[in-house]
Subunit: 308 residues, 2 copies
């Protein structure tokens, strides 16, 4: 693979509290603001609490899920009296660190999330982006005691709905398991370490280092599975089975139990072998998702350096 | 110790959803209603979703914490336009399964809760009550693979603020760790098994069995510890230390780390040896409680049988 070059990655945004009850990002962003980390070596860092009203209320969102508001259509929709708070806030953020798809957008946008699923530390991104893959590989090489994985959502950038899609490069860091509204020190430390490594990589890159190409494993989203539900009331009639609970990224095979109904029956998996993730994520009950299923692929990436 | 006698314990209430985002009780109550378990052998069972509006919103409460509304003063306070929804609901529940302290109250009230703390299955009750201690001992003997503990809150019944205080006998079953808004099958099964054993004990008692006296360990609440906070903003400046996190009921000794500040300093425990519980409970951030501390005591209880 031929090597690729990019201009300096000096304008960075670190966001937390995009979902107001995911506490790692909330406290990380507040601490970075307190430590005045907006100038760090070659980096100019925007440190952003994305959804302050939801943080204040300790809820995922006030009117609508902020992290579904960053499609090109929504970002350019006119504001009226009935525009939800979060869509207005998305347009503000787009003005601050975007505009999405423009030359003025920050070079790298990192958005910190938590999940109640047992997913360890997970990058989530859209199109295959060499910078993101290099940073992923770098962190994997530095944090060997932690499971660091990546999920790729295959959507064109205009349809990419989450905050990280506003940067020229960007990804979400999704870390769990952590209950909403709770801050765990182990997870806080893990994310802090990851952010420190990202900053180190950026400094090295901006100072002219070449990073060799390589290969990473990535999970691609194939489909989502809903809970069994009562046909009349729509209420769920089963929980994630104990053998699937906490087993994100372990290959699901035909015949494996996936649900346990409240009356005691086991529902078994009966489809092609895929990898589950976001298993029993709190916020996905309302989105009718019990878990996602994905395929594991290998991505090869070229060596990377600063534009000449 | 002399043996004691009680009249039949035939009117029972099983409550869930007193906090609307604690899902075990919500789904257990719905399933018991579906299975029409209101008549079970010698038992007449009121199956109650305590806070339906909070359940609907998947929040702990709508206006005020329902499970702090059951003091005698609050239950007898006049209802006005500004009375919070939950206080009105408390008075409704008191009319339905109480009135508290009266002969008409249900014989046994069990309220099902979840915590984000790693507390296993835990009984919580007020005054020392022989029926509760017998049921506790019985469940401990039946469910040997689960940590089953008990916490006693030493308050006179008139000041007892939670729903279980409305029954002639009563206790909360507090089970964790489970994130708010999430249902775990392992915890659901554990609580289901406990409720089944409670029903068995009641049937045996009502049929005239004598239960021998014995001894149980109980934790009594000594005090609560708040998070370190910023003197100006009031925001927390530290998380529960990794060495305390998930270690509910493990003796805390002088010098043990209890908090890790966001800037990296460890705060150590510097007080008498006590047992922590409700460590990092989500709902207690707003109550300014990082964890409770208690003492472990042994309680001896007499043999018990039906009034002759």
């Amino acid at each position: 693979m031929e090597s690729v070059s990019f201009p300096p990655l000096s304008r960075v945004a670190i966001c937390g509290g995009t979902h107001g009850n995911e506490m790692t990002g909330v406290y990380m962003v507040r601490e970075m603001q307190k430590q005045k980390m907006d100038k760090t070596g070659s980096l100019s860092v925007s440190i952003i609490l994305s959804n302050p009203r939801a943080v204040e209320a300790c809820r995922r969102y006030i009117e609508t899920d902020l992290n579904r508001c960053f499609t090109s259509d929504l970002l350019s929709s006119p504001v009226t009296d009935s525009t939800p708070y979060e869509l207005k806030r998305a347009q503000e953020l787009n003005a601050q660190v975007g505009p999405k798809g423009s030359e003025e957008a920050v070079d790298l946008l990192i958005d910190i999330h938590n999940t109640t699923s047992n997913m360890g530390l997970c990058f989530i991104f859209y199109s295959i982006d060499w910078v993101t893959l290099h940073i992923l590989k770098y962190i994997q090489s530095k944090m060997t005691s932690v499971d660091i994985r990546a999920i790729q959502l295959d959507l064109p950038i205009s349809e990419a709905y989450s905050l990280e899609s506003v940067g020229k490069h960007g990804f979400a860091i999704e870390v769990g398991p952590q209950p909403n509204g709770v801050l765990r020190a182990d997870i806080y430390n893990m994310v802090k370490e990851a952010v420190d490594h990202i900053f180190s990589w950026l400094q090295e890159f901006n100072s002219g280092s070449t990073f060799e190409g390589g290969e990473v494993e990535v999970y691609t989203l194939v489909k989502s599975v809903d809970y069994p539900r009562d046909a009349v009331t729509g209420e769920i009639t089963a929980a994630i089975h104990c053998q699937l609970q906490d087993n994100d990224f372990k290959l699901l095979q035909r015949g494996d139990p996936i649900f346990l109904s409240f009356s005691g029956e086991t529902v078994k998996y009966d489809d092609e072998e895929l990898y589950p993730f976001f298993v029993n994520e709190c916020a996905y009950y309302e989105k009718k998702i019990a878990f996602h299923l994905g395929r594991k692929i290998k991505l090869t990436f070229p060596s990377i350096n600063l534009t000449g």
